[in-house]
């Protein structure tokens, strides 16, 4: 029955589930942990070889596929879509579609918003608080793509609306860049990984930061003063998906894994372990009360409606953003 070589994020393939899957199907699973950039770089190096199943974010699929052709189209007839929230399937199909073909199945979603120490920064509730002098020296965010988008929303723009107009988008990014450079003096540091993100806010060195919901909740468990909140102008929603590399050697196993891990019980297990929200439709039955509480505490109905889902990034836009990020980092 072979092996399944899976490249994914930490926490997305818990050991218990891997064992269970191996027992059920007889397929051995080899897991490699990675992140978006590395995952794509690796697949590009082999033109989609080396792994049978990958888990990039949905917005990172289409432009990579157009340029490097590293994925197989998804045969949705093999996916048990009954298990998945329909809206998520729709979003995945739309965002990762290229030339009428779809390249991803949704798995986990979440948002980037604010992680705030409510005791020390009671008023912080929007992206714009990331340049609020009140919190000078106690602000942190990651100097990557989301901060550009978030800051744009915080300044009252809608960057996703400009995805059709490169020039206008560049102008907007320039404005955001200027803002972030101006306000750089308030920043404690730019965090670089999930653990620094959590460490900074837990140690009290930082009271306002932009971060991932799951991280915020993990921190909340240790210190109830800290929590994840949706920014007023909208949290940024991301979806991590399954994508099948072009040279996958075991496509069957890949689909088996997709269907397996999206079973409500299994999906709930992942969420309970990691706090990441799953797209599995009936998983909520199996979720811990704490996880549910996290969700309802941080997301009001309005917040959910206001989530800005990442759209597929048009090609060439990554360069604009990278340059902007360099500029901010280099500024004194």
């Amino acid at each position: 029955n072979g092996t399944l070589r899976l490249i994914t994020w930490k926490g997305y393939a818990p050991k218990a589930l891997v064992k269970k899957f191996e027992k059920e199907t007889g397929i051995k699973v080899k897991v490699t942990y990675s992140n978006n950039e590395e995952m794509i770089a690796k697949l590009r190096a082999t033109r989609g070889g080396g792994f049978d199943l990958a888990q990039p974010s949905v917005d990172r699929i289409s432009f990579v596929q157009k340029k490097f052709h590293i994925y197989h189209a998804i045969d949705y007839s093999k996916v048990n879509t009954d298990q998945i929230t329909a809206a998520m399937v729709k979003a995945a199909k739309k965002i990762s579609g290229v030339d009428g073909k779809v390249y991803s199945v949704p798995f986990i979603y979440g948002t980037t918003g604010m992680i705030v120490n409510k005791k020390l920064a009671p008023g912080a509730n929007d992206w714009s608080d990331l340049w609020n002098p009140k919190y000078a020296g106690k602000i942190s965010y990651r100097l990557k793509r989301p901060i550009l988008i978030g800051a744009a929303f915080g300044m009252g723009y809608d960057p996703f609306a400009l995805y059709s107009d490169k020039a206008a988008y560049k102008k907007l990014i320039d404005k955001v860049t200027k803002k972030l450079i101006e306000s750089k003096k308030y920043v404690k540091t730019y965090w670089t990984s999930g653990d620094t993100q959590k460490g900074l806010v837990q140690s009290g060195d930082v009271v306002v930061e932009s971060g991932w919901d799951a991280i915020g909740w993990q921190a909340h468990n240790k210190n109830p003063n800290i929590d994840f909140i949706c920014p007023k102008s909208g949290a940024l929603g991301w979806i991590d998906t399954f994508a099948i590399p072009a040279k996958s050697k075991n496509i069957e196993a890949a689909y088996k894994w997709i269907n397996f891990i999206l079973q409500p019980k299994n999906a709930a297990y992942v969420t309970n372990k990691s706090s990441y929200m799953t797209v599995s439709k009936d998983a909520s039955k199996y979720l811990d009360a704490k996880i549910k509480a996290n969700f309802s505490r941080s997301y009001s109905k309005a917040d959910i409606n206001n989530i800005k889902w990442y759209d597929a990034l048009p090609s060439g836009f990554a360069t604009i953003e990278a340059k902007a990020l360099d500029k901010i980092k280099a500024a004194q």
Binding site: R5, T32, K198
Partner: protein, 287 residues
């Protein structure tokens, strides 16, 4: 001590801050990690002394199996590094003239200069399905579809070899440099074959260099993270990666630190054992 260098007490006072600085720079960062490896959270939220982080290693089969696997790999790569670099070291010190030797030795420094990440990406390009090697083999018709080389133990081994070569070559070169050519000639004069000269004279003579090179490479490989991560296939295979996972994904500093020290201790024991078994001394390492 007899003040034999003509330097008096003022000299010691001068050097004291530097020594202190060195200790702060080298011992302290690890001391703090050491402490945190013994710290657990008490129910009251404070810190208590605990051995649980260390116990976790022995209780969980996956951890120590990984460790054994990693250690076995590191030993293998150390041996490979020796096999690959010894002839090079011999060539550079004993066969070609000094002039070329120092240029070629500079080549060996390239991996260090270019940085691990960049070279690892270089390897990705070479070993990939459409990489240089596969393209070449395909074009001469030796194979009809690309061989899987990247993200396998093969690519990881190459990557690790590449990074550790320098640290094997330099100590071996420095012992070989002091090998008097006439020892080789004397052995040959006494009727020894090339193989005998190699095994009975050259290898035993360069044993101190091989030992120090071996220790450094072993420790380097067992502690490396980037190459197994990027070039390796089965990620959970590498113990260091497990440590980082402890640090990064569960933010469990205590356990991560404990594992780090276990790594240092067990691998030091392996080295100690190897030294005892081969009858070597630690003296020349580090110089």
């Amino acid at each position: 001590m007899e003040n034999k260098k003509g330097f008096n007490i003022t000299f010691y006072l001068l050097i004291l801050p530097v020594l202190l600085w060195l200790i702060v720079l080298i011992v302290l960062p690890h001391l703090d990690l050491l402490i945190s490896s013994f710290q657990g959270d008490s129910d009251a939220g404070g810190k208590v002394f605990t051995l649980e982080h260390y116990m976790a290693f022995f209780q969980s089969k996956i951890y120590w199996l990984t460790f054994i696997n990693t250690a076995a790999y590191a030993i293998g790569i150390t041996i490979l590094a020796f096999i690959v670099t010894f002839p090079v070291a011999f060539y550079l010190t004993k066969v070609i003239s000094k002039k070329y030797a120092s240029f070629l030795a500079l080549l060996l420094l390239i991996p260090l200069w270019v940085g691990e990440l960049v070279t690892v990406y270089g390897w990705m390009i070479i070993l990939g399905d459409h990489g240089v090697i596969n393209e070449f083999l395909l074009s001469i018709g030796l194979i009809d579809k690309p061989i899987d080389m990247l993200y396998t133990n093969f690519s990881m081994t190459i990557g690790l070899l590449y990074i550790s070569m320098l640290f094997m070559v330099v100590p071996i070169m420095s012992t070989l440099e002091s090998l008097d050519d006439s020892l080789i000639e004397a052995a040959s004069d006494l009727g020894a074959s090339k193989w005998t000269i190699f095994t009975k004279i050259i290898i035993p003579y360069s044993m101190p260099g091989i030992t120090s090179g071996g220790i450094i490479v072993f420790m380097l490989v067992i502690g490396d993270y980037v190459a197994p991560d990027i070039l390796g296939g089965k990620s959970s295979l590498w113990f260091t990666e497990q440590i980082y996972n402890e640090f990064l994904s569960t933010f469990n500093w205590g356990e991560g630190a404990a594992f780090g020290f276990l790594l240092l201790m067990i691998s030091s024991s392996i080295i100690w054992l190897a030294l005892k078994l081969t009858g070597q001394k630690l003296e020349r390492v580090g110089s």
